[in-house]
């Protein structure tokens, strides 16, 4: 089952991040390929995404169901394909990071180190990321944060998708490399938005 994790840090406290993240209407447009979403109730929503499956672009409808909701800490959810045989889920986790030294310009921290992949796989990932950027545009450029920050938070996003049915092995081969840039994109767009709003950094000026 293809699964990816991406994490970023922000010079903002968890309450600020949570205030934004808890309402999916705030960040829904940041989801890769977002077309629309419909909130059914407190736990369920239906999403329409336009995803690049290999070479062409296709609409996928997914039902998202929230299975765990811990204020200012985590949201866990499952995903069920409505028009494709695909299932998955993920978790959005917020945690505190040690405050950085005052007066030191801060760039977004890199994600946690992962086991180094086989060269061929990295080459495929590089290619997919390049194609992804070509189709969806460059991700948000984040500036060094101002020096007034006192709190740091880490936002991590784990996403897994598994295509089922007879074509599953083929679809998973295509989905796998596309997930990582999607997770990275969402986390970075949320971070860039919050930094712009709360710290006055202007991603557009980058």
């Amino acid at each position: 089952m293809p699964e990816v994790e991406y994490a970023t840090t922000m010079p903002l406290g968890r309450p600020v991040i949570w205030e934004f993240v808890k309402d999916m209407n705030n960040w829904a447009p940041f989801v890769t390929g977002y077309q629309k979403h419909e909130i059914i109730d407190d736990t369920d929503s239906i999403w329409t995404l336009k995803g690049d499956v290999g070479i062409l672009s296709r609409e996928v409808k997914l039902r998202a169901h929230i299975t765990e909701w811990v204020d200012e800490q985590r949201v866990t959810f499952t995903l069920t394909g409505l028009n494709e045989k695909v299932d998955g889920g993920g978790v959005l986790v917020m945690s505190d990071e040690a405050s950085a030294a005052m007066g030191e310009a801060e760039a977004p921290a890199p994600p946690p180190k992962k086991k180094r992949r086989w060269f061929g796989r990295r080459l495929v990932d590089w290619f997919v990321r390049k194609m992804f950027r070509r189709v969806h545009g460059e991700g948000p450029k984040r500036l060094a944060a101002p020096t007034t920050a006192t709190a740091r938070s880490r936002l991590s996003f784990t996403l897994r998708m598994d295509a089922g049915g007879p074509t599953g092995p083929l679809v998973n081969a295509m989905l796998g490399p596309a997930l990582e840039p999607a997770a990275e994109d969402l986390a970075n767009k949320i971070a860039a938005h919050l930094e712009r709003v709360h710290l006055g950094t202007d991603a557009q000026a980058a």
Partner: protein, 561 residues
């Protein structure tokens, strides 16, 4: 006698680049022309309008139709020039020069020898892929269509991601031979999807991607780097001959001198609604090719006074849409080859009536969609619908659907035939009567109305397991609810009308004399097969043959100063 702008070029020309031959377009016609010219010691530039190499060929099946090819003996199928000429002449229906037909059939086998010598491609004769009218005199049960096999795109190095990928075949790397053996349409659940996933990860491609990959590798090996994203806007004429082109790259104008000539290999005009409406014999609304095929080559040839031929014709293909599916930022129109040929499916018009052998070859069956009623002054067979039942979806593939997957929401569904008819705006009584009659034929195993399932060609896209049980591989009842429908649209793989050419692919004036320095090959030119579609790969076979002739002739032509 020249346009003032051309005169301006002549007086103040400052060539950005000078070569012997400029090839406009990077499909099989253009690539073959470039390789043939290079083999004749010519310096070649290949200009491609889009950001990807391969043109229409790259999204196609990649099969090359060549009678008397060197691989036919390997599969034990004999052939002869007389048979091939007789067969193609009948299908051309008087719309092609007999001398040109003969020239094509004589040279095509040489072209295959050349390509196999100049590229890594080794073709395999498809013994079970029949000609599209195999029962006609000179028709064959197989062997004339050649499969390029699989291609490893890693061989292209940095050019790997510049090879155009087919939106339909680009993700399932299986050769045509394998697709046939595995029953890609009739036994889709049994396909080795794990193997296909592995091949996808490895960078293997098939069909048109494989053919274009091999051609591109050969070009790169010769130092010919195609100039992508470089549209050509105008042919430059000097001293009454085509002497170069005015192109554009990155917003800058490029004037490229062509000392020996220019080959138009830029594809058809199927995406140009205005040209399609002006020339074609039917309303082409859903082309299957890349959207860049907008008739720029045709316009350039017309601007120099080229004679035109076969302008009403296209490589017609019924097309189906999955809403929201896009390729090159346009709605993708998928050609339908099997849905209409498999049991438990039928095509009806708005009266709910059948009007054609649904399983017949895509080019010729499409023409029945354009039937014109002079009294009502309309086309009664448009719009048309494919109607299937639950039995179909239990067994067979339909576009992206494979049994075991959720029923697609792009299929219109109803629990009764009458309700389905109402949903799609078809006469309900007509549809009920049609299905009752069709079901009787299905049980009897014969279709006296339209002869579906009589031809070996029909069988190729049918369900062979039916034959094993003594049935008709193309017929099955439509009686098990729910019932489903999808609209079938007039589409085409490409147009095949354009400038007339001679036996060396030189573009001709109305008087029959060539326009010096101008060649045309592929869908931009008047198709040598006229109205017909002789067999799988007849598009590419003719395109490569006339590309080969153009490149060879141009290389041997005297260079202008």
């Amino acid at each position: 006698m020249f346009h003032s702008r051309r005169m301006w070029f002549r007086k103040s020309r400052a060539w950005s680049l000078e070569v012997d031959l400029v090839v406009i377009g990077s499909g099989a016609a253009g690539a073959t022309a470039a390789l043939a010219a290079h083999a004749g010691k010519a310096r070649v530039a290949v200009l491609e309008k889009s950001a990807k190499f391969g043109g229409t060929t790259a999204v196609s099946g990649g099969v090359v139709w060549v009678p008397n090819n060197k691989h036919m003996p390997e599969v034990g199928i004999p052939d002869s020039m007389d048979e091939a000429v007789s067969y193609v002449t009948r299908l051309a229906d008087g719309r092609s020069d007999p001398a040109l037909i003969r020239r094509y059939l004589e040279v095509a086998p040489q072209m295959i020898e050349f390509i196999e010598g100049a590229t890594p491609i080794v073709f395999k004769a498809l013994a079970r892929y029949p000609d599209y009218h195999p029962e006609f005199p000179g028709g064959k049960p197989g062997g004339r269509s050649l499969d390029p096999g699989l291609y490893d795109t890693n061989q292209l190095g940095a050019w790997k991601d510049k090879l155009r990928k087919s939106p339909v075949f680009g993700m399932t790397a299986m050769s045509v031979t394998e697709a046939t053996d595995w029953g890609v349409f009739s036994k889709p659940s049994a396909l080795p999807f794990a193997l296909l996933g592995k091949r996808f990860k490895q960078g293997l491609v098939c069909y048109g991607g494989a053919l274009c990959g091999g051609l591109l590798e050969a070009l790169l090996a010769r130092g010919i780097e195609p100039m992508l994203s470089t549209p050509v806007h105008e042919l430059i004429v000097e001293d009454d001959r085509v002497a170069g082109v005015r192109a554009e790259q990155g917003g800058k104008e490029l004037l490229i001198k062509a000392r020996k000539g220019v080959v138009l290999a830029s594809g058809g005009f199927e995406w140009n609604a205005e040209l399609a409406a002006r020339f074609l014999g039917g309303p082409l609304t859903h082309p299957n090719s890349p959207p860049g095929n907008d008739g720029d080559g045709l316009r350039m040839a017309m601007s120099l006074g080229a004679d035109l031929g076969n302008m009403t014709e296209a490589w017609w293909c019924p097309s189906l849409d999955i809403p929201g599916e896009e390729y090159d930022q346009r709605q993708l129109h998928r050609g339908d080859f099997a849905t209409r040929s498999l049991p438990h499916s039928v095509i009806v018009n708005r009266q709910g009536q059948r009007f054609v052998n649904e399983a017949h070859n895509y080019n010729d069956m499409m023409k029945a969609f354009f039937a014109f009623d002079p009294v009502s002054y309309d086309r009664p067979n448009l719009p048309a619908w494919i109607v299937i039942d639950a039995q179909y979806l239990e067994r067979y593939a339909l576009l992206t659907y494979v049994p075991g997957m959720p029923i697609p929401d792009w299929l219109i569904k109803a629990d009764t035939v009458e309700a389905l008819a109402e949903k799609i705006g078809v006469d309900a009584r007509g549809l009920v009567a049609t299905l009752a009659r069709f079901n009787r034929f299905a049980v009897e195993g014969a279709d006296p109305d339209f002869r579906r399932g009589e031809s070996l060609y029909d069988h190729f896209y049918g369900d062979p397991s039916r034959v094993e049980h003594g049935g008709n591989p193309n017929l099955g009842t439509i009686e098990k609810a729910p019932f489903y429908a999808i609209q079938v649209h007039p589409g085409a793989i490409g147009t095949k009308g354009g400038p007339r050419t001679d036996g060396d692919a030189r573009v001709l004036r109305p008087g029959g004399e060539p326009i010096a320095g101008l060649y045309a090959a592929g869908n931009v030119a008047a198709g040598v097969t006229g109205a017909g579609y002789p067999g799988a790969g007849a598009t590419i076979g003719a395109a490569m043959t006339f590309g080969y002739l153009a490149g060879r002739h141009a290389a041997a032509a005297p260079a202008t100063k």
